[in-house]
Amino acid sequence: MSKEEKVVFKGGTKIKKGASGITFDIIKYALLTIASIICVVPFILIISGSFSSNEVIMREGYGFLPKEFTTEAYQAIFKYPQEILNAYEMTIYYTGVGTAVGLTVIVLTAYVISRKTFKYRNVVSFLIYFTTIFGGGMVPWYLMYTTILGLKGSTFIIWFPAIMTPFFVILMRTFITGSVPDAIIESAKIDGAGEGKILLRIVLPVLGPGLATVGLFLALGYWNDWYRSSLFSTSKSTYELQFYLYNMINSAKALQEMSESGAGVGAISVPSQTTKLAMAVVTTGPVLLFYPFVQKYFVSGITVGAVKG
């Protein structure tokens, strides 16, 4: 191809690109804006609802802006805050312990299966992976923890089942192999460093992004979980926050109890509809507050997971 021809082609494409480019520009910005709005609007509905007056909501329905701005719903929640504070405390406990233990176990496992000189790494990887394609189902799993191990009602059982998943192990292994070349580990071994020392001194210091990403995945899972409480909790003192919310919105009874317990000390009427929304805001608040700061780790985690499949 001669130089002249290239120039001609370039000129040609410029015109073409301009024409189809503008249509495409309009379409893409419009569609992305609409999709973004659809993703956000429900949150706005909840927040505005939680600041609305219950009576107006009952009469006119929910809307995009607070109707007769009031904080009565939040006042109702925090009038007798023991239960919700307890649920908060327990959830922070589950999240903290579960994430810490989980990260430790995941790093140890991922380190072992990342070592190319470890003869059984494929066997171990397959045994871990196999759990994703076959399992006994929910009932045997449930009975294992309750009838056989007798753990129903304990706090251990809320965090233990979620400390690791095959996906997190693979993700962490990818982070390890990506940030520590094999040659470095091998030369450290030649210099006489043990596996423990290699893990602590060589791998961990550069594993920051991996720890942050997997840790956040774990923490989010714990924060948003309600399922294990619904199966294993026997008293309100071990409820997870989401399950507390779930119970509250599910039973008008819970709200009644709230107002009755209030009635003993000094009657308050609990605004039934808006309280649910306020509870939703209170439970999700921390997640949405942290979200902008941790989002990049999530994106990097998803990206790494995606690239490696």
Partner: protein
């Protein structure tokens, strides 16, 4: 240099006429065929003497229930079912599993022997399958003997007054299998040791000695998966029992396929249909939307817009399904919901979503897409970002407009990611999105016909009818087994057409 010598030594060792090995493999083949024949349900493994007394202490009469006095290990559960001896059931199921596993691995071994294709580690792979096969044989032989002892003790304990003596005893087949299995195992072990020398390989014990600290690192992971995944697999047995509190989990009567029969007669078809259709809709629509939006985001020139839209699209992924429930209620509720308020304000007819099943397939699919859009978009965006700019530059030079670039560059290069995601999704096609369905529909029986999936059914039965957990275990097992079959088939197809994409 080293590779050349390695190749040479490999070639030498493979071509070396190892007479012992060839002869040994031939004998193994012969033994394996015999063992399979002995294990198949032709010959009796467990003989029952004193049948009148055994029958008496089990509270049945053999002739009435049609029980026999001799059973192959594989069919012993038949005896358990007919005599209603629940306590004998679980170990019998384990014995059955051992025998089946033994047969399966032996058949694999025989197939490998017949194909006889050494790989780069020579015959070591073949030997490990052979070892596994013979270990399973030995275990099933020992299992047969152990089971008889267990059965004697158990039946004796049922009625203390009658002295039955050793009513259950293993037949000669069990001993024969045991002896042949041990002999064959020793033989193959010797051959393997010789083979290992050729390749400077070592066994498990030496590996533990060399890398013991790595094995210690694996202990927590091992404990976790044992408790959380592998031990519960034995609970599959509950799918074949009718649970009652008096006898307990492992001693309730064995009922064979009754639970499955019940499921097939009642809801299984509906549950399967719903689960599959929803998942197909989620996979097709989900991936289309995600690819579409990933391309849109990648084409954004304005940085802040790109970042903001990505942030907003990912937001629904971060909230729990309980919050989703609040959202959905907030939007769809009859009196106060946003949609109905708007309709009423416009003077239209309110829609009773919570009592109209027809709406729910669309609603559930919509909210699934809503929650998953951001995540999938990021996944595809990662791939798009990895595409070299040179392709696009070249396309521009050739005069391709933006749509042509997407059609002929972006989409083809997204194919690998799409196939991997598709494989994962198809593997889970029998698993429903439990949290989504449970939170959106909950126990609204009105909508079950179009919204009940296998997972919600199992959960509901477990929570509310503990006595019927045979059904829910059966439904869960059905789900697991068909899920596994689908994974295997998909993987085989992919492996056949393009090995790089295969899952394992």
């Amino acid at each position: 240099m080293t590779t050349v010598t390695a190749n040479n030594s490999l070639a030498v060792s493979l071509n070396k006429p190892v007479a012992n090995r060839r002869f040994g493999l031939l004998i193994s083949l012969f033994i394996s065929v015999i063992i399979v024949l002995l294990t198949l349900p032709f010959l009796n493994w467990i003989l029952i003497g004193n049948d009148a007394k055994v029958a008496k202490s089990l509270g049945v009469s053999f002739s009435e229930v049609g029980a026999k006095t001799g059973y192959p290990a594989i069919l012993f559960l038949d005896f358990v079912q007919k005599t209603g001896a629940g306590k004998l059931g679980f170990p019998a199921a384990l014995l059955l599993m051992l025998c089946v596993a033994s047969i399966v691995v032996h058949v694999l071994f025989i197939a490998r022997l017949l194909i006889n294709k050494p790989n780069k580690k020579g015959y070591l792979g073949l030997f490990s399958i052979g070892k596994a096969a013979y270990i399973l044989t030995i275990l099933s032989g020992l299992g047969g003997i152990g089971y008889c002892i267990y059965a004697n003790v158990t039946v004796e304990a049922l009625k203390k007054k009658t002295v039955i003596g050793n009513a259950f005893h293993p037949s000669w087949v069990v001993y024969a299998v045991l002896v042949i299995g041990i002999a064959a195992y020793v033989m193959i072990k010797i051959m393997e040791a010789e083979e290992r020398k050729l390749y400077h390989e070592h066994g498990l014990l030496k590996e533990i000695k060399k890398n013991w600290i790595l094995f210690i690192f694996l202990i927590p992971c091992f404990i976790y998966f044992l408790i959380n995944n592998y031990l519960p697999m034995s609970g599959i047995y509950f799918a074949f029992t009718r649970f009652n509190f008096r006898d307990g989990l492992f001693s309730s009567p064995f009922v064979g396929l009754d639970n499955f029969e019940y499921l097939v007669k009642s809801d299984l078809w509906k549950l399967t249909r719903n689960t599959l259709l929803y998942n197909i809709a989620f996979i097709v629509l989900g991936n289309s939307f995600q690819i579409f939006f990933a391309i849109l985001v990648s084409q954004c020139g304005v940085r802040w817009f790109k970042r903001t839209s990505q942030t907003l699209l990912l937001m629904p992924h971060f909230v729990s399904y309980v919050i989703l429930k609040v959202l959905v209620y907030n939007i769809l509720e009859y009196k106060m919901g946003v949609i109905n308020s708007a309709i009423a304000a416009a003077g239209g007819e309110r829609i009773d979503f919570y009592n109209t099943p027809a709406w729910w397939p669309f609603l559930i699919t919509f909210f699934n897409l809503w929650k998953g859009l951001g995540y999938g978009t990021v996944v595809y965006l990662a791939t798009i970002m990895g595409i070299s700019d040179e392709y696009y530059e070249a396309a521009k030079i050739d005069g391709a407009n933006i749509f042509q670039q997407i059609r002929f560059i972006t989409l083809p290069l997204l194919k690998p990611t799409f196939i991997i995601l598709l494989l994962y999704a198809i593997g889970g096609i029998f698993k429903g999105q439990f949290e989504l369905f449970w939170q959106m529909v909950g126990s609204n029986g009105m909508l079950y016909n179009v919204t009940d999936i296998l997972d919600t059914y199992v959960y509901r039965v477990t929570i509310s009818q503990p006595l019927n957990m045979g059904w829910s275990t059966a439904a869960g097992l059905y789900q697991s087994v068909f899920g596994l079959i689908v994974v295997m088939i998909t993987n085989a197809i992919i492996k056949h057409s393009n090995p790089d994409y295969a899952l394992f």
